[in-house]
Each structure stands twice: as C-alpha cells, then as structure tokens.
C-alpha cells in the first residue's frame, strides 16, 4: 500500500514538470502578444425553432385623410350633365348620380352597388354621349354640312347625271397600325347602257371585259386592288374602262375572217336560208324585174326559231310567216 502511494506521487510530480516545460516552450510568444481571452459571460445564440411569442408591438397608426363624401351628394338636380362628364372616361361611382348595380351574386341577393365595382369600370360607357350632349355637338358641327342637291332625289334621277359609281372603304380600328390593306380596293361600276356602242364594238367590249359584266343587271364592275394606294387603283380602274372602250372600236384585220362556225348567234342575213328564200320568191321572174326579198318579219321568225329553239310559239309564228309569204290561204 505504501509503495503504490509513493509511485503515484512520483508520477504526479513528473506530469507537473512536463506541464511546466511545455509552458516554457511557448513563453516567448506569450510574452509579446497576450492571448485574446474568450469572454466567458457571453451566451451562445439560441436557435429559435419554435419562436416564443414576442411582446406585442403596437403598430404605428398611419394618418389618413377623411374620406370625402361622393361628389354626387353635392350635385344639383338640374345641373348641366355635359359639363360634369364632358368626355370619355371610365366609370367613377362618386361622379355618377345614378343608383347603378352591376355584377353577379348568388340567387336572391341584390347585385353589387356601384362603389368599388370593377364590372362597371370594365365596360366602355356612353355617359358623355347623352341625348342633350349629342344635340349640342350636332348643332355645333351642323354648319359644316350641306344639303343634298335638289333634282337628284331618286336613284333614276341621279343615275342620268352621275352614271359612274365608285365604292371605296375606310377602316377605323384599334390595331398597332392605322393602315388596312383592304382600304386600297376600289370598285367602279356603271350600267353598260350609259356607254354608246355600235354592234361590233359592243360585242368586242363584252368579250374584253368578260366576267366583269353582269348580264342580268346590265352592270359593268371593275374591282382593282393591285396597286398599293387607293388613288392608283382608282386611276387604274378608269384606265381599264377607257382602254376597253377604245379598243372595242378597233377592227383588226383578222376579224374579217370570222366564218359561220364562229358566230355566236344565227343571223338571217348571212345564211343559206336567205338565199333559198330569195330563189323561191324570184322563181321564173324576168331578168330585169326587181328582185323580191323576204320580209323582215319572216327573217325575225327564222332567227327566233333557230336562236331560241323550237317551241310551240316560235313554230306557229314561223308557219304563219311562211304562209303569208307564199300567199297560201289560211282555211
């Protein structure tokens, strides 16, 4: 027991010695800069996983002006509304003295009132275009208007003096551009009876214009949209009309070679029927005697029979004409 005790003492002595020597090892550095000491009294920061309710902070009161009562309460009953709402503006509940309600609610409940009602602000209103406002503005701009001239009251009357109709189109839209490509289109129309033709020119003109002529209404229509501007298109339409009109009066040399197979309609004058009829009428006639020619009504009946086809009326007419021409007594 005593031996073990002494051994323990020796060991402890040795450890204290080593500690002393280790201190001495760092002594010179320690003397120059004193080691910063950790303050023992500061606490660790606490991680607030479940924050405890802090002391209630009083919110600062924001000073607001008193809400002014709506302007409608101060409006006179007989006020000038056009001055109160002079131009287009989105709906404002305090300025409109109307008990408006708008919007969807559950069944049975009244629609929301006009205050703080977005439904009323979404739709464009016409509060600046009330009937008195329209009357006022129209009276102001009426001095720029002129009456329709007398003597041109009906369609037939103005058509005799102004046979040409020009249709143009304008667009007013809310696109990023104010231009609409359709606005360049120009339609010029007139009745064909307003132009003067001879037979050949009329036939040639109708061939030149083709689809632009409506046979039922006798209306000729030029629609032009190939140029970028309306003025150019209008000029081009008139140019087309003029060119076709003048071209139709030109007779080309090859037009004389039109044979009977090229004819569109049967003409009595240039056919075998005329020659045969003349031969029959002048049968056994003297050489010097005047040649008889078939009557115009007979020619017309033959043309009708071939152009319109054989029907009861045309055949009866033809029979009658033939009998009249050959002096066959009827019953």
């Amino acid at each position: 027991m005593a031996a073990s005790l002494t051994r323990f003492l020796e060991r402890s002595q040795r450890t204290t010695h080593a500690a002393l020597s280790s201190v001495r090892l760092f002594s010179n550095s320690n003397q120059q800069q004193p080691q910063p000491e950790v303050e023992d009294d500061e606490e660790f920061r606490v991680l607030n996983l479940r924050p405890v309710k802090q002391q209630f902070q009083r919110r600062r009161d924001i000073k607001r002006d008193d809400v002014t009562p709506p302007r409608t309460t101060r409006m006179a009953v007989d006020q000038d509304w056009t001055a109160a709402w002079p131009g287009p503006r989105s709906f404002h509940p305090a300025s409109v003295p109307l008990p408006l309600r708008q919007g969807f609610t559950e069944r049975g409940a009244a629609a929301p009132s006009k205050f703080a009602n977005a439904e009323l602000m979404k739709i464009p209103n016409f509060l600046h275009l009330t009937p008195p406002a329209i009357r006022q503005q129209c009276e102001a701009i009426k001095k720029f208007c002129t009456p329709w001239p007398k003597g041109l009251e009906t369609n037939a009357k103005w058509r005799t003096h102004f046979p040409l109709e020009v249709i143009t189109t304008d667009y007013c839209q809310s696109l990023p551009t104010v231009r609409n490509p359709e606005a360049r289109r120009v339609t010029v129309s007139l009745k064909l009876s307003d132009l003067k033709f001879d037979d050949h020119a009329r036939d040639k003109f109708l061939r030149l214009v083709g689809e632009r002529y409506n046979k039922e209404t006798d209306v000729l229509t030029f629609v032009t949209d190939r140029c970028p501007l309306r003025k150019q298109n209008y000029d081009y339409a008139l140019y087309l009309l003029t060119a076709c009109y003048h071209e139709s009066f030109i007779t080309e040399p090859w037009e004389a070679t039109k044979s009977e197979a090229d004819m569109e309609v049967y003409l009595f004058e240039r056919n075998q029927a005329k020659r045969s009829t003349e031969a029959i009428l002048n049968w056994n006639a003297a050489e010097n005697a005047q040649k008889k020619s078939p009557s115009a009504s007979y020619a017309q009946s033959v043309e009708q029979l071939i152009n319109e086809g054989e029907n009861e009326y045309n055949l009866a007419k033809y029979k009658e004409e033939v009998m009249k021409m050959l002096n066959v007594p009827t019953q």
Binding site: P124, C138, C145, T146, V166, Y171, S174, T242
Partner: protein
C-alpha cells in the same frame, strides 16, 4: 344634255369650308375670283361595326343614328345578325396524349350594320369624323362609301378615230 350637265355642276353644292378658305387666301394674295371646288356626292354610306360586347355596339348605333337625325341625314336599314360570329380553337387538354379530351377556346365577334343615304361630301366628312372620334374601345368600324361621279369626258361619245 351637256347644257344640263353644266348647269347642274353649278347647281351642285360646294364644299362647306373650301369657299371660306379659298376666299381668305385670295384676299391675302391676289383678288382673283376663286372657283369653288364642287362637292362630292355619295349615294350610300354603309357602316359595319364589329366588337366583342353587343351592348356597346347597340349604344353606339343609337348614338350614330341620333347624330344622323340631328344632322339631317337620311337613314337606311340598320340591322345586326342575330348570332355572333364564333371563332373556335380546339386544343388537346393534355400536352401530348389523351386525344379524346379537348378544350375549346372561342372568340365571339358581334356585327352591326348601319346605312345612310344621300350625303354630300362635306356632310359625310363631318358625320364620319364625329362618329369615329366617339368610337368606344374595342369596337372596329368599316365604312363603305358609294360615290357618284359623272361620266368622264372621253367616254361620253364613241372615239372618232381609232
């Protein structure tokens, strides 16, 4: 006929403002008699309105016809088709698959038409300017004007030499 046309041209109304402006210009520069520009004649003015909200179109039509009444313009037929124009887009509800399940989006466009007859050029300009300035948001306007013109001089008689 020519005589009638000539007299008619003078009987035709002149533009409302042109005479005023030209006469003032004439007093400033020279004292030559200014020839007033003859007014144009429009037999028909057709207005097509298109918009999303039929109520707005209706109010606008009422406004335009009332203004025409005040200005003394002859009204023609004002009408609208009973149903709106539906432009539909049908898409797959899912991105790639489930072809039987679709969604439809549609844009409805309501139309309204107004006709006015027998306007002179200055009346037409005034009226159009007024109603176009008061066009509400979201409404588009299309104006077809039928102008009456005399037959051009070179088309009245057949060409003598061709």
């Amino acid at each position: 006929m020519l005589q009638v046309l000539k007299t008619l041209r003078w009987a035709q109304p002149v533009r409302a403002l042109s005479s005023v402006t030209t006469s003032s210009a004439a007093t400033n520069v020279t004292t030559t008699a200014s020839v007033p520009e003859p007014d144009k004649l429009f037999s028909k003015l057709e207005i097509e309105l298109r918009g999303v909200d039929p109520a707005v179109l209706k109010s606008y039509t009422w406004f335009a016809t009332t203004a025409a009444d005040h200005l003394g313009i002859e009204k023609g037929k004002c009408w609208s088709p009973r149903k709106a124009d539906h432009e539909r887009m049908t898409l797959l509800k899912s991105v790639h698959i489930y072809k039987k399940h679709r969604v439809q989006y549609e844009v409805r466009t309501h139309f309204r038409y107004m006709n006015f007859h027998k306007l002179t050029g200055s009346t037409l300009d005034t009226f159009l300017e007024y109603i176009e300035r008061n066009l509400p948001e979201g409404v588009a306007l299309q104006v077809s004007k039928t102008e009456l013109q005399q037959m051009p001089e070179h088309l009245r008689q057949p060409p003598e030499q061709v």
